[in-house]
Amino acid sequence: MTCQKFAKCLNRRLISEKAKINILRMMYLIREFEIASRKMFKEHQARGEFLGALHNCDGQEAIAASMGAIFRKDDYVFTTFRGHGHSLAKGAEPKKMMAELLGRAAGYSKGRGGSMHMFDPSIGLMGGNGVVGGGLTLAVGAALSAQYRNTDQVCICFFGDGAAATGAFHEALNMAGLWRLPVIYICENNLWAATTPINFGCPIKDISDRAAGYNIPGKSIDGNDVYIVYETLNEAVIKARKGEGATLIECKTYRHHPHCMVMPEHRPKDEKQAWLAKDPISCFENMLLQENILCREEQQKLRKDVRDLVAEAVDYAEKCPLPDVNTLYDYVWA
């Protein structure tokens, strides 16, 4: 699969030009955020400051950005430890995120959460999770809540190929199928779970094949192709909103960096090379240039704007004070 394949995609017509530009912009934002966060972490580490674990999602932006373009503000998103992209796409503020990454008082969780734990229920961001598969059963609950209250809200739960092996996957999808819940399970299959290749974790080719065991439709798609992701997800969202139940979507994708910042690269070079060539951002960029929706200048301006925004966020975060230690016991109880 190369960038050429995009050209054959019919579903490009589904999305307005403006929406396409917004998706590209969101992909840039996510990428720049990840680049900047790594840089920031390295600088702090060089000064001997621990900042915990940093799991970046460069390479997986097509999925988050498509979700962002489809989802309503009152829809729910549960993400993972690799959740910056999903959070930004759901509308989280880069400043408050960056501040949280540095454990500052102005961060999303006032320094209590860090990279893996950022929440904003007011925009439907139900948080990251440090537990692999941790969001799977919680998403059942949020979807159940929508059904219970008879709203047309939809819930998306992101999880990795690794999480597909957890017992929680089974229990969650079984309930989602039984109760026809408005929940969409998106498996971002990036072929690796930490240092474990997918074939060590899963004995079948397509994880979406498991959907049949829960009476749920399942699809495995190219997760680096915005159009395909958009169309598949959009269809699932429409179904869920209509009360027609859950969907399991497996997006094949790849992360451009090691599992987390402190871990060395252990994946085969050629595999990585091949996937870098399928970078969702350059593919989509080329697409939009070809479609004449975008010109080089606009593209460069778009990227620069986003870069500036992220730089500002870093600046802001660095200047924020750390939490007052006397607030240690705040927020234990509601």
Binding site: F119, T137, L138, G141, Y148
Partner: protein, 349 residues
């Protein structure tokens, strides 16, 4: 000799558990009915309250607590689930995060092990990790206890685990009055609450007021006034302690305190009592090591070390998996006689 010992004990406790001086109450209800009333009233008051758990709908729960609620509230509010404790608690947590107020039922606390991630890594931590952006107004009701010969995998008592997990409130009512009053408050609480019922208490009866009532969290009940020794007991052991106190009365004047909630723990009522009596015995069925008794001893130590006349003691479950055979099971948890003997020994010390 062994015949119907347990049955007799049960009947004894049932009779005694009608609280003294409460004779003005005309209504007698069981612990089970008390719990059901609490749930019913709160569901009537707040349409966001719903039930989720195994066998709770048509059958009304294996211990009968939710009997009739399906008819009253319908399937949307009484969600019977597959055997998926992880998803039951997870779904409860997820819906609580969106403002719903679920009451999850776990049939035996032993099986909360399958939802312990959801309980401990999620429910207990979400509020703090999000600096209050997320609330988890959740009640997990679970049943525990010994005395029915169900062996090691159906006899765990896990209140100490939950007390060791910051972010969870823990209630353990010992009679119908407290059961109803505490459960209503638990349902209204914006924090996750683990609500632990005792298997042998369900059938116990008690006179209660005509009007409804609540019991606050963090307020211990002095179930019997006394001057010479403080016995802190939880759940079913409250009744054993009361029976022991009754037997000792005339000889030794025993004060019996039921903390009712372990988190928050009303340590002040306990320490005041110990300052008065100078002696502390904690009695519970759960394992002694790293248990609730050890924690109460630690806290009492810090607050009234100098007032103590004898070594504070804990009578807890033996350090063994719970055996099946009733002769062994009886021996593995504190009995009335053990309490009597220990109190007598402590007084002589």
């Amino acid at each position: 000799m062994l015949k119907s010992v347990l049955c007799l004990m049960l009947i004894l406790y049932m009779t005694m558990s009608g609280r003294k001086g409460a004779k003005r109450y005309m209504r007698e209800i069981t612990y089970t009915v008390a719990l059901r009333e609490a749930i019913t009233e709160e569901m009537e008051n707040d349409k966001n309250v719903f039930l989720i758990g195994e066998d709770i709908a048509d059958f009304g729960g294996v211990f009968g607590v939710t009997k009739g609620l399906l008819d009253k509230f319908g399937r949307n509010r009484v969600r019977q689930t597959p055997i998926s404790e992880g998803a039951i608690i997870g779904a409860a947590v997820g819906s609580a995060m969106t403002g719903i107020r679920p009451i999850a039922e776990i049939m035996y606390v032993d099986f909360i092990t399958f939802g312990i991630d959801q309980m401990v890594n999620q429910a207990a931590k979400l509020g703090y990790m999000s600096a209050g952006a997320v609330k988890v107004p959740l009640v997990v009701r679970a049943q525990q206890g010994c005395g029915t010969c169900e062996a090691a995998q159906h006899s765990q008592q896990l209140e100490a685990w939950f007390m060791h997990t910051p972010g969870l409130k823990v209630a353990m009512p010992s009679d119908a009055y407290d059961a109803k009053g505490l459960l209503k408050i638990a349902i209204r609480d914006d924090n996750p609450v683990v609500f632990l019922e005792h298997r042998l208490l369900y059938a116990t009866k008690q006179n209660v007021p005509d009007e409804t009532w609540t019991v606050p969290f963090g307020k211990a009940a002095i179930k019997r006034k006394g001057k010479e020794i403080t016995v802190v007991a939880t759940s079913f052991c409250v009744h054993k302690a009361l029976a022991a106190a009754e037997k000792l009365s005339g000889k030794i004047d025993v004060e019996v305190i039921d903390p009712r909630t372990l988190v928050p723990l009303d340590i002040d009522t306990i320490t005041e009592s110990v300052k008065k009596t100078g002696r502390l015995l904690v009695v519970h069925e759960s394992v002694t090591q790293c248990g609730v008794g050890a924690e109460i001893v630690r806290q009492v130590m810090e607050k009234c070390f100098r007032s103590l006349k004898s070594v504070p003691k804990v009578l807890g479950g033996a350090s063994i998996p719970m055996p099946f055979s009733r002769v062994l099971e009886e021996k593995a948890i504190p009995q009335e006689l053990d309490i009597i003997e220990t109190v007598e020994k402590m007084i002589k010390e």
